[in-house]
Amino acid sequence: MTASGEFETGDANRHSGTATGTTDSTDDVLLKVDGLSKHFPVESGLFSGLNVSWDGRVPSVGYGREYLKAVDDVSFEIRRGETLGLVGESGCGKSTLARTILRLLEPSSGSIEFEGRDITTLGGEDLRQQRRNMQMVFQDPQSSLNPRQKIGQIVEEPLKTHGLLDDEGRETRARELLERVGLDSDHYNRYPHEFSGGQRQRVNLARALALDPDLIICDEPVASLDVSIQAQVLNTMTELQEEFGLTYLFIAHDLSVIRQISDRVAVMYLGKIVELGNKEAVYENPKHPYTKALLDSIPVPDPRKRSERETLGGDLPSPVNPPSGCRFRTRCPELIAPDAYDFSDAEWAALRELIRTIDRQLVEPSPPEALRRQFLNDVDLPAAADESVERALELFADGEPDRAAELLSESFVAPSVCARDVPSYEVDSTNGTEARFVACHRYAEETPTE
């Protein structure tokens, strides 16, 4: 047995996808995810008393049940042989998305197609067969390896589960795989604790390759490794991709790693993809304000470029009551001014800073004049707007910060398109012909998707 391509899997599903009547343009699509959501039921906010909805909205389902929208209406495709990088901060739903695609979690809605075949509701033996084509590599190489099993057993396990090859065949295959991932075939009889973190992650790669899958979903595969070891493992992953014709969904929070490994990149925020496009285009010309903020906040490894870092303020809102409209709006530095007032850029910027400060109560209660001096010194707000501001400042001075924040939010944030509509647009990429998905109303002049 030589390269993986010749490995006899005896899998009836394997090539069926290409036989279905897919159109030319989707021919090379390996995985298609459409409107996929995963919502987890949580204790009702009414009882826990913690999640009071600011918008005063009622929970969408009866019986006081609330849902944590870990993944919400996500769509994308991965083409055969490419690496799609999925990047986003902790808790944005990356792992949940990965597990839902692998059907380790049941989707709440939406569909998953693999090689043109709908696998959303696949069950039993069909699902088991399907999983052979989709393997996963996890972040923590320690806990994903059974310490009592030898490396050889670990790598052979998937073959055994699927009843493939005889003992001898499995051993040959396992030894060969160990060599391919940069280990030694003699490591076959060793135990995981004898290996370093980087080597253990290679064992995981060998195991993932055992069934010769088409797609490997890697969830933070190098996050727990030192940089120098990270680079070694990433190089191996790139080599394996070429050799085995693999397709990767590569999940990471590290933008530098994603940049080096991906062909296309999807950026996720609070359960939604906010931008998706060609890697170079997204990094060189980010469009979504969140993508920009992410890229700007990386400390550059060069002390001469210190001033280039910028900071995104605010905290991640709760995925149980995500903000209406655009989920990024509570932190967005480019929030669109409401049409009702005719704010200049400077006025709107100053007002937003004031709203943010009061909303987060970052200052002690202070007289209206003091806050005006601090925030609105250089601007002359339109009269109608000024009236609301004055009332809010008085409330704040009177020790009613919540009501002050509510008033400002009602007057200036709620009427913004960013709070009213969920953004979803196709934008022409400037770096090529490929269209880019951007979930931001700043790109409303382009065609909305759907």
Binding site: S228, S256, I298, P301, P303, R306
Partner: protein, 371 residues
């Protein structure tokens, strides 16, 4: 800098006795921290960074032991220990007792911030009560005064709605907010030195940015000095004035931050800088450091970096380089520099064997078919 250093660490060695032998987790460590400066302590996992700072705080417990060295801080002798020929350690008379370390130094003069805030916060008490109690104990304030101070500190470190958040529990705070609470606690006694052990490593990049801004702001406000332990060269470039690079328990390069990045002296620092994936350019390939970090038990002979060093020569296998000044204010432990007078130039280069390690040219042939 003409002033006396705030903290001076001289020849500190800390070892761990294990079943398999003795590991020198920190070996002959020396450095100064000056007033108002942020000193970076950099290295990969296993380099000895955390043991180094725990040694400064005298927080090493069995099976670990500080076996020698002196540490002075603003006239206090934190450590003055030597090892006699019998292996017994002897402490100097002026060295602070454990009780004095607790009452005078830790938390009050030198504060410590850890990577995982949950280690330092008790999950069953509210954030506010923990902060208030800390202030009450360490500063002579009444309960009410301490509470007011605690709220003020929470606001200062950017906790939104500080007054109501005061009554919440650690699990109700995000990772970034917990780290802010620890910073507030560290600031409570207005210490002159804060030692932070990977304080932003577990945080997301936007949250890390917020914390770095906060530190920057506090530095100007309080003129606090920092020792910042990290493995992230981006963070180093961002906030450090000078940097110490550690490899396998030893300092191998010491330099002002600009020189460290732009006039790198030590081959390990160079390799480390090359291996980081760049966020702002696509390099296509990664350039890893070859081989793996050996464990402390089996530290290589001579220069400890020689099995992985692209510049390694045979002399590097037997001669151990100490840290020497190579350029103004820049020290490195590498035999290729003339100050070491080690005949490096005439020594034959090592070659890479099948494990990716550097060995003498002859051994590769003779080892040949062997495992």
């Amino acid at each position: 800098m003409t002033q006396d250093p705030l903290l001076s660490v001289q020849n500190v060695t800390t070892q761990f006795v294990t079943e398999e032998g003795i590991v020198r987790a920190v070996d002959d460590l020396s450095f100064d921290v000056h007033r108002g400066e942020t000193l970076g302590l950099v290295g990969e996992s296993g380099a000895g960074k955390s043991v180094a700072i725990r040694s400064i705080m005298r927080l090493i417990s069995s099976p670990g032991e500080i076996v020698s060295g002196t540490i002075t801080y603003k006239g206090h002798v934190i450590l003055d220990r030597s090892q006699g020929p019998d292996g017994e350690v002897r402490d100097g008379e002026a060295m602070l007792s454990e009780a004095e370390m607790r009452s005078k130094i830790r938390g009050r003069e030198i504060a410590l911030i850890f990577q995982d805030p949950m280690e330092s916060l008790n999950p069953v008490f509210t954030i506010g009560s923990q902060l208030r109690e800390f202030i009450e104990i360490n500063r002579d304030l009444s309960n009410a005064e301490a509470k007011a101070e605690a709220i003020e500190l929470l606001r200062e470190v950017g906790i939104p709605e500080a007054e109501s958040r005061y009554h919440e529990y650690p699990h109700q705070f995000s990772g970034g907010m917990r780290q802010r609470v620890l910073i507030a606690m560290a600031l409570a006694c207005k210490p002159d030195l804060i030692i932070a052990d990977e304080p932003t490593t577990a945080l997301d990049v936007t949250v890390e940015g917020q914390i770095l801004d906060l530190i920057e702001q506090l530095k100007t406000e309080y003129e606090t000095s920092f020792i910042w332990v990290t493995h992230d060269m981006g963070v180093v470039a961002e906030i450090c004035d000078r940097v110490n690079v550690m490899y396998l328990g030893e300092l191998i390069e010491q330099a002002p931050v600009d020189e460290l990045f732009h006039e790198t002296k030590h081959p390990y620092t160079e390799a480390l800088l090359r291996s980081i994936p760049k966020p702002h350019e696509t390099t296509g390939e990664f350039d890893p450091i070859r081989g793996i970090m050996p464990d402390g038990m089996n530290a290589p002979s001579g220069c400890r970096f020689h099995p992985r060093c692209p510049d390694a020569r045979e002399v590097c296998m037997s001669v151990h380089p100490d840290l020497r000044e190579i350029d103004d204010g820049q020290n490195a432990a590498c035999l290729k520099y003339d100050v070491f007078d080690a005949d490096y130039d005439d020594s034959p280069p090592l070659v890479v064997d099948e494990n990716g390690e550097r060995v003498p040219a002859e051994t590769v042939e003779s080892v040949g078919g062997d495992d």
